[in-house]
Symmetry: C2
Subunit: 403 residues, 2 copies
């Protein structure tokens, strides 16, 4: 018998060794100190969590049907909840999505992981917005794809660039957040959506439409879902995290039936099914409360926070700083002159007790050194103004050093 010594690091999978330490995790550790004004987070404002209504819903579910609510359940998710989501797509967006085209997941993040499980072989080309959502990049990284970034413009993804990428590499999927994207706050115009459809419909590819923020609109009008244009070619994600509460970890995947069968297998392999108690509580909450009114309250508040941030940026940031002006969601994106290092500026800012997320981790090609993500949903308009003023002052001092 030969024995090889136990060396755990030699046992790790290729996929897990390929993941860099999460820069944002490290940043968030620094920014939790209470005296810091943090624009680094990505959390919904807990002031709007419907705590009492959830408490009521939880009581109702456990009183009426506790034993079932606490038992194992189906992989697909609670049917009445899926019916509710289906009906809401119809009434709010005119989309025909059957309940059996919906699978309840542990938040949208799990939906991304399931997409990786169902579709990705090592080396498959994945087209993703540049900058793109870091959670998608991290989650799909586990499946070792070949990421190809496509630039975002103020009107949404750069369609020429997307089409050229498809002609060149035929990606297996295109990952898009067309409404109030994380990290930029940008949305695709209706015309961009049409053009993306003209470019990709009928190709042998799928479009992943991640839509956690779409309902958080405080300005402008809603555009059509990519699902409207792509039909069975689209896998659509939704989430209760931003419109109700993220701690319950409830999201969903919409996929056409032949794909749904595979998603169910992947979901079962991942965790059997999503927390059933949470599904039941959410459904009861939706039955007993006016979620539209609730979403309106959140959106209005976020609109005020966004106004405070955009106004303060105009007032306090140097003229060279370009900023997005989102019509919804939770983020503003700042682009500084080419030679600006957001990473170095982070060190300067944190010493003055203001935090943000440097943009590079959002770029699959490692670019974006001069960009920053600012979150406004987590601070009051007054605090936002104070924090932006502080950042602006620091920028003025910082910029000549790098120019």
């Amino acid at each position: 018998m030969t024995t090889q010594a136990f060396t755990p690091q030699s046992l790790f999978s290729e996929r897990i060794l390929g993941v860099p330490t999460s820069f944002i995790r490290e940043i968030l550790k620094v920014t939790v100190q209470p005296d810091i004004i943090s624009f680094a987070g990505g959390l919904p404002n807990p002031e709007f969590f419907p705590v009492e209504a959830i408490q009521q819903a939880s009581d109702t579910v456990l009183t009426k049907d506790g034993k079932t609510a606490l038992q194992y359940s189906t992989t697909e998710g609670y049917l009445p909840l899926r019916e509710y989501i289906s009906a809401r797509y119809k009434s709010h967006q005119g989309l025909d999505i059957a309940p059996d085209e919906i699978l309840i997941t542990g938040g949208s993040q799990q939906a991304i992981d399931l997409v990786g499980k169902v579709f990705l072989n090592k080396g498959d080309v994945v087209a993703i917005e540049k900058p793109g959502y870091l959670g998608s990049i991290q989650s799909l990284s586990m499946y070792q794809p070949n990421f190809q970034g496509v630039n975002l413009t103020s009107e949404g993804v750069d369609v020429e660039e997307l089409e050229a990428l498809y002609d060149r590499t035929n990606p297996k999927m295109f990952c898009a957040i067309p409404n109030f994207q994380n990290p930029t706050g940008l949305s695709y115009t209706e015309r961009t959506r049409e053009r993306v459809a003209e470019a990709l419909v009928g190709r042998n590819t799928i479009v992943i439409e991640d839509d956690p923020y779409g309902e958080l609109r405080f300005a402008g009008t809603r555009s059509k879902s990519l699902k409207h244009y792509f039909g069975a070619q689209c896998v659509l994600f939704g989430s209760f995290s931003k419109i109700a509460a993220p701690g319950l970890r409830l999201g969903w995947v919409v996929a056409p039936k032949p794909m749904m069968e595979k998603f169910v297998i992947a979901k079962q392999a991942s965790d059997l099914h999503t927390n059933f108690f949470a599904q039941r509580v959410m459904y009861q909450y939706l039955l007993d409360n006016d979620i539209d009114a609730h979403i309106k309250r959140i959106s209005e508040a976020y609109g005020k926070q966004r106004d405070a941030m955009v106004q303060a940026i105009e007032e306090f940031f140097p003229a060279e700083a370009r900023s997005t002006k989102p019509e919804g969601g939770m983020f503003v994106w700042i682009t500084m002159p080419e030679n600006f290092s957001a990473l170095k500026f982070f060190d300067v800012a944190i010493k003055q007790k203001v935090a943000f997320v440097p943009g590079t981790p959002f770029f699959v090609d490692g670019s974006g050194a001069n960009t920053m993500r600012l979150n406004y949903s987590g601070a009051s308009p007054e605090t936002i103004r104070e924090g932006i003023a502080r950042l602006g002052k620091l920028m003025e001092e910082f910029m000549p050093q790098v120019a």
Copy 2:
């Protein structure tokens, strides 16, 4: 521009195409009809779900700290819950496990998936009990390992066979359920555990100890955890599903620090973190209630159900049928003569309104055609007796046809 037509089946990953349709899912669909006596399930008895205590815990958490409980939280899980688990390992099993060696997961099933993510490259050899837990087989299948089954004896895994397999193929991991295994109900004797350790400690491999049933003992005495023998070479899973309620989807992984870092990355990529509300409710429940007394009540009831099943098997099954006599857990395993087809017998039995799970899916090499899994936690002693009597009568009629 060339366009290839949209053919979704061509886009699926190799891993998902490699998963056969879940036989057990299909069986469970048949067996949910209310007039069927089903031994096919694997569900804990809902009569013992602490519904009122969970309701009280849920109220307390939302009243005291609702906004935090409904917010995003850390990937590792709620620290006080991890401290509780750590302290319980110490007090109940004498194991020294630090809270930061514990990660809260969406049930043990997710723990298995994380093991696949963290360790498995395609083609890696995975040693697993034969028969083995189907959930592990399905979940790890996603990572396309080379499964090698090792037979179980009445004393636990066949150590000679395990050692020979290691000498031959050097598996990356050995997946074991040493206490009241699913599907067999068998446990490893203390001597078997020692011998497994003698065979594998110091080799470059890890031992996955899945222990969802270990606390559900109604006879005999507890053996030492494999963790005791393997230390940092062991990844240990635990779960609240069988001792509290499975609908909350709460389990955990114990892993030494260098591995835990990778588990955290994999967990974050999978779903950011486990339902935080459920973690808070479970912790509150554990604080306010005597879980040991609760586990004792469950175990005593399962003991009576097991007695009813084992006695009825002795009384009604043909002499050729061999049965395990578990000291805990939820399952009895039946081995019939070589030429018996449990699959064909299933069709006979279901017509007479009794269901069980044919054993083949639990064997990674496709053997086990003459075996069956019977669950006793889901039916009363009277119903168990009636169902076993019915099965026994059918076996007598069925067996000559195949002899």
